[in-house]
Amino acid sequence: MDTPEQLREHQARMGWKFPLLSDTQGEAVRAYDLLHRVSDEQVVSRPGEFLVDPTGTVRWVDLTEDYRVRARPETLLAAFDRVNAMPR
């Protein structure tokens, strides 16, 4: 898992404005059941994306089956529009 320093470098290089959070103990990764032990020494996160509404409810999930293939921004934005159009 990336440390805050590694994330800072990444953020500086890519110019991202959104928060990057460091989960070196795997606290969030475990809570979301995304822990992936790749070897005896190495643990990573399985990729996953969650759209969460202001009540904390998950409204859309993308759990890719291939870690090379991730949800595109258009897909997420379309999902957001769709769930916002639904009556609560």
Binding site: A28, G56, V58, R59, V61
Partner: protein, 154 residues
């Protein structure tokens, strides 16, 4: 008796190098763009070109062995290129799918587990605070959130 010097055959080496470029360019360049990452068609095209050059090179090394060199080195390069292709196919079909199922991940309609983690400035960030009072957090306003868990080092 005539001593005929056979010509050097650069095609097998060119073919192998193109195959090498096919694999390396995918992981170091084309990987950045979803349109070339999701389906590695640039690598397929380059592998096809590389194997074509190898085929042409081996063909003239074997069929016109009086004119062209390269039967041995060409064969070795062909084996290496096929091994490289095999590794590439494995990495991009089976290898990148080796992941746990994440059956315990929150589903649509379920509550997203809260967490508190450090951001790049060392500040503590709590999910429910970002979401606001409707989630039980102490933030001033209500907001949606997108959580992106990534593998790290691709």
């Amino acid at each position: 008796m005539e001593l005929i010097t056979r010509r050097r055959n650069f095609l097998p080496l060119a073919g192998f190098l193109v195959c090498l470029v096919a694999a390396l360019s995918y992981f170091f360049f084309f990987y950045q763009f979803p349109v070339t990452r999701d389906l590695p068609w640039t690598a397929w095209l380059l592998f096809a070109l590389g194997l074509g050059l190898l085929g042409a090179g081996l063909a003239r090394a074997f069929r016109r062995r009086d004119v062209y060199r390269g039967r041995v080195t060409g064969s070795i390069l062909a084996v290496l290129s096929l091994a490289l292709l095999g590794l590439f196919v494995f990495a991009t079909t089976i290898g990148s799918r080796q992941m746990p199922a994440a059956e315990g991940a929150p589903k649509v309609g379920e509550k997203a587990p809260d967490f508190t983690l450090q951001d790049t400035q060392g500040r503590s960030v709590r999910l429910y605070d970002l979401l606001g009072p409707a989630a039980g957090g102490s933030g001033p306003s209500s907001s949606w959130a997108v959580l992106v868990f990534y593998r790290g080092y691709w």
